[in-house]
Amino acid sequence: MKITGEQIMPAPRQRVWDLFNDPDRLARLIPGCEKLEKLAPDEFAGTINVGVAAVKGSYAGKLKLDEIRPPEHYKMLVDGKGKQGFMRGTGMLDLAPRDGNPNQTVVKYSGDVQLGGPLMQVGQRVIDSATKMLMGQFFAAAEAELKAEAAGTVARQGFFLNFWRYLLSAIRSFFRRDN
């Protein structure tokens, strides 16, 4: 499965970078994340619980970072498995200040992930849209987190709240595209 996308975050690049390297805060932002620990500066271990189509399950895995160039780039190597299957792959994350607005950051990501087991066999028809939705929820949560940080408060996070944020942003982007 190939994943690519781009999002604009309402914060300067360094703050976005810090957020994307902070396991405690990331754990609250990643949909279904049950645990995320930093094993080493470039290695995380965690557990997420997600459902794709009828396949619901918990996956434990490791995330290794490579080619780290703060605050603009890293490469991710993902290796996770659970009773409903496995995922393995690589991804790239690139952060750049938005043209003409250093208080905004363009986040570009791309990845190539292999899936197997029931996750793949039952979920493959919907896996692309499910991934898109999960990514959308993550970025909606990250946006709220960064805004709250700027305002000196703490954003509330939670599955339904972030789903709602994702829906709102999806509706907004739909109308933006229409214009």
Binding site: Q114, P118, M120, Q121, V122, R125
Partner: protein, 777 residues
């Protein structure tokens, strides 16, 4: 007393059906034994990976768990799954993966627990540490240098190569007016029986006997294989095929789970059951077809085909099942079809890939052959601007030439290919249909007419034609019980074909009794004498002939006894209306029961004769039968959506003499459905990494009723000289004729677009693209 009618040739409803449609039939899962444990198999999510370690500790201590085994636990204790067909490289085929997994779904461990839920929960606790390896799912890529190798011991992915050279083919290519070249694909299919596989094993500790209930087409052959794998004497193994809910060739096999469950029952001393789930069925029950063919066809400008040269790439999958490498052979030998093509040659390269093994699937090699022959005829017609009917007529083997020895060395028993073609053309009114097609095109409507004249090979024999341990003969015992009711014990193991009806029709007529006086028994090795099984449309032509041989022996005995009672010579006697009567005067008769009483009571012994009424026979055919026919489809394609609408579907089949017209119609209906499914809908898809994409019935497009046409059936009758009933077999005919017929129809509709060929399945998306591309051009 009412006169008992004749049953052979009459439209008799299947006697099997009431129990099948009322839910009272007994399938494997309906067999309930006290104290039964359930097995769940843990399967690989990886198409290719090294197994570093398997941690089963948590699973072993989970609630309800009785045993957990991995491949390591079985090493040296149990044999592998056999492949009886010859091949250069036959890999060891373990019951549970050893060291490596080679396809998605390969069994890695088994959990036995008090119920299926606890077994599955425990299986989820098994931690397998895999080291994923590169996988290969495309057979042509698997042959390339640097491809990931499945079985390192062979050094490459080549399983075996078959080469039938013929210098005359190259001469024909040199002197032909034209040589037509093309590549066609018979895609991989899943047989999808309504009942998945299922196994129940019971070990009897006291007697050292094993009973195995399994959903199989071949209980006796399976008994032999099972006894060998478990090192048990064959007279201590009983295999029962209860009701079997469809096999289609996929249950003409011996599977890992059959041996595994038997092993577990012996190990644990308790009954163990395993029922395959649908997802397991799509991933781990043998697939069919999966052949790529490169063809060279030298022709004369008048449409005469001078030779056929083919190269096949045949996908074996990761391991070889019972007959895996034997199936493509039929495709090569039968690819000249109904045509008097003077020379042929072929090369078959059989390849290992990270996929489930292929093996027999309804037609087994012959649908591929018919597809080659019939696409060839249409290609020749299109290339030379001739009518496809004319090209076929020009190349047909003439009626006078039978028995006909083909250039492949087969002897076609009998045939009249023009008769079947003419009848089909008449039914569709071909000239009128062509005129309508031309008229419709003027209005932007795309109608296609597809023709396929097929010939197939059935009732395969003699035994020398088959691989070792798979004989070509069949057995039958016919017994007249003391109350003059008849029991037929047949070595074939019908699983939907309806021989409980056909064989009863035959026996009832032979003895002048009612069809309800006959019971047909099959599928239990402890009751039925050794037999072979049901496959290759052999049930009636081979199994039925054995029944008639035993019937003949009993008739002779009954007549001898009756002749002493009636003081008439035996050859003057006949069986009618539950009596033995004089042929010349039916009024001079004695009740059949009186003769039976004499045979069992034996108060007046006849010298040289034994008491009782029981006869066993084995029929070894001297050659194969070659059923044939012509199918014609008329379709319309919507250029905006690519959807195919059926306008007509005519099938004229010649299966020799017909015993049971309703059963023949049923077989043809089902066969056409499966053949059209290959042409238009079905395809097993593995992605480039070897993951199975069509793993559920949401993704594998088995057709529903509304996706199929109304069938118009007709027959010609050309009896086979090779058996006394003159029958040929019809179990696979529909599948063989319909696939090329439907593809030819669709491609005929696309002819105005300049489309030469599209590979199956011809899904709307592909056809829509063809229209779109044509518009662009």
């Amino acid at each position: 007393m009412a006169v008992i009618p004749k049953f052979v040739g009459a439209r008799i409803k299947r006697r099997e059906d009431p129990r099948l449609i009322s839910g009272t039939a007994t399938y494997v899962d309906d067999v309930r034994l006290p104290d039964t444990l359930t097995a769940v198999v843990l399967r690989s999510p990886h198409p290719h990976a090294r197994i570093n370690s398997i941690d089963v500790a948590a699973a072993r201590s989970a609630p309800g768990v009785v045993a957990v085994l991995t491949g390591e636990d079985l090493k040296g204790k149990v044999g592998g799954i056999p492949c009886v067909a010859p091949a250069e490289h036959i890999p060891f085929h373990p019951l549970l993966a050893q060291g490596k997994v080679r396809f998605v779904g390969e069994s890695v461990a088994v959990v036995v627990a008090s119920d299926a839920y606890l077994a599955q929960d425990a299986a989820d606790l098994i931690d397998v540490d895999y080291d994923p390896l590169d996988a290969v799912s495309d057979p042509e890529k698997a042959l390339a240098d640097g491809a990931p190798i499945l079985h390192e011991e062979f050094g490459a992915n080549l399983a075996t190569r078959a080469l039938i050279p013929n210098p005359a083919v190259d001469e024909a290519i040199a002197k032909a007016d034209r040589v037509i070249k093309f590549r066609i694909v018979n895609q991989r299919l899943a047989p999808v029986p309504m009942e998945t596989r299922g196994v129940l094993a019971q070990w009897h500790q006291a007697s050292g006997q094993l009973t195995l209930w399994t959903s199989t087409q071949i209980p006796h052959l399976l008994r032999s294989a099972l006894a060998a794998v478990l090192s048990l004497p064959e007279n201590r193994v009983r295999v029962i095929a209860p009701e079997v809910g469809g096999g289609f060739g996929a249950k003409l096999n011996f599977y890992r789970e059959e041996a595994l469950v038997a092993y577990l029952s012996r190990m644990l001393g308790r009954p163990v059951k395993w029922i395959e789930r649908r997802r397991e069925n799509l991933a781990t029950t043998t697939h069919g077809r999966d052949q790529i063919t490169y063809l060279e066809v030298p022709v004369k400008n008048d449409g005469t085909v001078l030779a056929l040269k083919a190269k096949f790439i045949c996908d074996m999958g990761a391991y070889l099942q019972l007959l895996t490498p034997a199936i493509p052979g039929f495709s090569g030998l039968m690819m000249t079809g109904c045509y008097k093509i003077p020379a042929m040659s072929f090369e078959q390269v059989m390849v290992f890939t990270n996929k489930m093994a292929t093996d027999a699937y309804r037609g087994a090699g012959r649908p591929e052959a018919a597809y080659i022959a019939e696409r060839t005829m249409d290609m020749v017609a299109a290339e030379l601007g001739l009518d496809p009917v004319e090209v076929r007529r020009r190349n047909f083997i003439p009626k006078e030439a039978f028995p006909y020895a083909t250039c492949a060395g087969l002897v076609y028993d009998s045939g009249d290919y023009n008769a079947a073609l003419n009848k089909a053309l008449e039914i569709v009114d071909y000239p009128k249909m062509r005129a309508e097609q031309a008229e419709a095109l003027k209005h932007g409507r795309y109608i296609g007419i597809g023709i396929a004249s097929y010939v197939e090979i059935c009732g395969i024999g003699p035994s020398a034609m088959l691989p070792p341990k798979v004989p070509g003969w069949e057995s039958a015992t016919v017994r007249m019980e003391p109350d003059s009711r008849i029991t037929v014990l047949t070595g074939i193991s019908p699983h939907g074909q309806g021989q409980e009806t056909t064989f009863a029709q035959m026996a009832a007529d032979a003895f002048g009794v009612d069809i309800d006086d006959v019971a047909v028994v099959h599928g239990d090795t402890a009751i039925v004498q050794y037999g072979v099984g049901t496959f290759g449309s052999r049930g009636l032509s081979v199994g039925g002939t054995a029944v008639m041989m035993s019937v003949g022996k009993l008739q002779e005995k009954l007549k001898k006894i009756a002749s002493t009672m009636m003081e008439a010579p035996p050859d003057q006697l006949t069986f009618t209306n539950r009596t033995v009567a004089l042929k010349s005067d039916a009024a001079k008769a004695i009740p059949l029961q009186a003769v039976v009483d004499a045979a069992y009571g034996w108060k007046m012994p006849i010298p040289g004769m034994e008491p009782g009424l029981d006869a066993t026979s084995v029929f070894e055919p001297t050659g194969c039968t070659f059923p044939f026919g012509t199918h014609i489809a008329v379709v319309e394609i919507d250029p905006d959506t690519g959807v195919v609408t059926f306008l007509r579907y005519v099938a004229v089949d010649d299966c020799g003499n017909i015993i049971s017209p309703l059963l023949v119609a049923g077989q043809v209906h089902g066969g056409i459905a499966q053949g059209i499914a290959q042409a238009l809908y079905e395809e097993v898809v593995y992605d480039e990494n070897g993951q199975l994409v069509t793993a559920t019935l949401m993704d594998y497009a088995a057709p529903r009723a509304r996706m199929l046409p109304h069938y118009e059936l007709a027959h010609t009758v050309t009896p086979s000289p090779l058996n006394p009933m003159g029958v040929k077999g019809v179990g696979e005919a529909g599948t063989i004729g319909s696939t090329p017929c439907m593809v030819n129809a669709v491609l005929d509709a696309l002819k105005p677009l300049g489309v030469r060929h599209i590979d199956m399945p011809l899904r709307p998306e592909k056809l829509w693209r063809a229209f779109k591309d044509a518009k662009k051009a």
